[in-house]
């Protein structure tokens, strides 16, 4: 089975200092599947999504590896072609609904402009498509909402619009970067269901970045657990929750809050577990440095 998106041995460093941010990450995502990228802050989970979309901060440099989208290596493509390919096939659902819509523009054009400008749709088709999508994400009165400014809408409403915008061009790949972290739990549940429903209906492949294992268990088929830019475990979702293989995964799961299990959850990550991962990473770094220094 060939994957739709395949990341092979991707390493990224801070430009100048050479500090490693991604450590030989390899992840395969099949068409129509949802893969969760899980980890604590600084684990590099967002970085992977950004590398795929080509929106890494200027201070970060990819130094080795391949990102194959449908067999084509994004990293060895002229920037202009890559931008067009990403624009036509991929989309982003960002984290913060407050900053993800441009406050100076009405909502409608923020969905339709890219259809018209980048994909060459007619204005009327784009408008009709946007209305249909807003309807699909359960927004009443789509026509009125399209004429509103973002600050006139609630957080949950804005996140729905971002989801509609992401699906507008029928992308084959969506990167969702902590899309529900800023929301109240009750709204989060609605939005998660909505994303799952849209993903299933449109058959979109999705990289779902999150720090919350609870969220992963609701939406992903596979997941990769990251620590300090290294994938410590990759598994099918159900296998993972039945029996996490890596000690760090087990510790992370035990630290995750669970109101049904007040004594078994919210356990601090033990020192020796951290020592184990740190040792693995140090060994990995040594090998990498030697490889870099060699021919």
């Amino acid at each position: 089975m060939s994957a739709y998106l395949e990341i092979r041995n991707l390493s990224a460093v801070v430009r100048g200092t050479g500090e490693r941010l991604l450590r030989g990450v390899s992840i395969a995502l099949e068409a129509g599947h949802v893969t969760g990228l899980v980890g604590e802050s600084g684990a590099g989970k967002s970085m992977i999504g950004k590398a795929v979309l080509g929106i890494l901060p200027t201070a970060v440099e990819v130094v080795e590896g391949e990102i194959l989208l449908d067999g084509q290596d994004l990293l060895r493509m002229p920037p202009d072609r890559r931008r067009r390919l990403i624009g036509a096939t991929a989309a982003l659902i960002p984290q913060d609904p407050l900053t993800a819509l441009n406050p100076s523009h009405r909502v409608g054009p923020q969905i339709t402009d890219r259809l018209v400008d980048i994909l060459g749709w007619s204005r009327a088709d784009a408008e009709a498509r946007a209305q249909a999508l807003l309807d699909e994400v359960h927004i009443a009165e789509p026509a009125r909402v399209m004429k509103s400014y973002p600050h006139e809408l609630s957080g949950g409403m804005r996140q729905r619009i971002l989801i509609a915008a992401a699906f507008a061009a029928e992308p084959r790949l969506i990167v969702a970067d902590e899309p529900t972290t800023a929301l109240d739990v009750t709204v989060q549940k609605q939005i998660l269901r909505l994303i799952a429903e849209m993903q299933a209906r449109h058959g979109t492949a999705m990289l779902f970045v999150t720090h919350d294992l609870g969220v992963v268990s609701k939406i992903c088929q596979d997941l990769a657990v990251l620590y300090a830019g290294k994938v410590v475990e990759q598994a099918a979702m159900r296998d993972f929750f039945r029996a996490p293989a890596h000690p760090y995964s087990r510790a992370l799961l035990a630290a995750t809050p669970q109101y049904t299990d007040p004594t078994g959850s919210l356990r601090p990550v033990e020192r020796d577990v951290l020592d184990t991962v740190e040792a693995e990473i140090a060994a990995d770094d040594r090998e990498w440095r030697n490889g870099q220094a060699g021919p």
């Binding site: 604590e40 802050s41 957080g155 109240d184 739990v185 009750t186 709204v187 989060q188 549940k189 998660l192 269901r193 720090h211 919350d212 294992l213 609870g214 969220v215 992963v216 268990s217 609701k218 979702m237 159900r238 929750f241 510790a251 992370l252 799961l253 630290a255 995750t256 809050p257 669970q258 109101y259 049904t260 007040p262 959850s265 919210l266 356990r267 601090p268 990550v269």
Partner: protein, 273 residues
């Protein structure tokens, strides 16, 4: 830190508390701004030694309630009694005598610690202002209590990790041996591993120091772990107030049930999803 054992007697008694704030965005050119009702008639007591969880969504008024308990905000109706004193409209000068007895731990440990002062100075500041003796010794004890090495007193906040900074915030609050501590969303900015450590610490401190704690959070899992009582807030009202076990076994209010149902547990087969 011996105090008379009056465990279980009310420390806070809140009766029909109302609080509204002017809405400056709707202020007309001349005249007063319209007021928004944030707290709409809350009544409850906080027993001495309790760990009171206050939970609700954004805009539920839970943070405003916390700030009213500390009298950082003045209520517009009802009254608040602290340890038998009516503090509802107590002027700032008279409140100052009570300030060292009620302390607060903030959500963002970075912005609540002055980046230009060392940890020792940050913890000692309130001690000096309230005229405590043995300041150095108390700072050292506070650091011991929160599990930070004593030589951290010489460090600056930016040299610490997020979890360590939150411990400094806790140390600053407990150094004064207060009767009451308000913790406002203090673990929501932390990773799950540091979150667990800070919660363990709080649990231990409550036991050791016998302090009464109000713990504001949007996360019911965290509340269940730490708190003895829970107040559930929704749109400025208390929809449920119950001992923790009872609330989780048999939630009464529809909103509480909706809140519980919406929590994604790390379990692929969680019912209702």
């Amino acid at each position: 830190m011996a105090r008379p054992d009056r465990k279980g007697t009310p420390l806070y008694e809140v009766d029909n508390l109302h609080l509204s704030l002017p809405d400056m965005t709707a202020k007309p050119l001349i005249g007063a701004a319209p007021r928004i009702e944030i707290l709409r008639g809350l009544s409850f007591t906080v027993p001495r030694g309790a760990v009171m969880g206050i939970v609700g969504g954004s805009g539920s008024g839970k943070s405003t309630l916390g700030r009213a308990l500390l009298r950082l905000l003045e209520p517009t109706g009802g009254n608040i009694r602290f340890d038998g004193h009516d503090i509802t409209h107590l002027p700032e000068t008279r409140l100052r005598g009570l300030r060292h007895r009620v302390q607060m731990i903030f959500q963002d440990p970075m912005s609540s610690l002055n980046p230009r002062r060392r940890v020792g100075g940050i913890i000692a500041g309130p001690l000096r202002r309230h005229g405590f003796d043995r300041v150095e010794a108390r700072v050292a004890e506070a650091l011991d209590h929160v599990g930070l090495p004593r030589d951290f007193a010489r460090r600056f906040p930016h040299e610490l990790s997020g979890g360590q900074r939150q411990r400094v915030g806790i140390a600053r609050a407990i150094a004064l041996s207060p009767d009451f501590i308000l913790a406002d969303e203090i673990v929501s900015g932390l990773d799950v591993s540091s979150q667990a450590q800070v919660l363990n610490l709080l649990e231990r401190l409550v036991g050791e120091l016998g302090v009464t704690l109000a713990f504001i959070s949007h996360d019911l899992s965290v509340i269940r772990r730490l708190c003895s009582h829970v107040i559930v807030m929704h749109r400025g009202e208390i929809v449920e107030n119950a001992p923790t076990a009872q609330l989780f076994e048999a939630p009464q209010a529809a909103y509480t049930r909706a809140l519980l149902d919406a929590i994604p547990l790390p379990d692929p087969d969680q019912p209702g999803w």
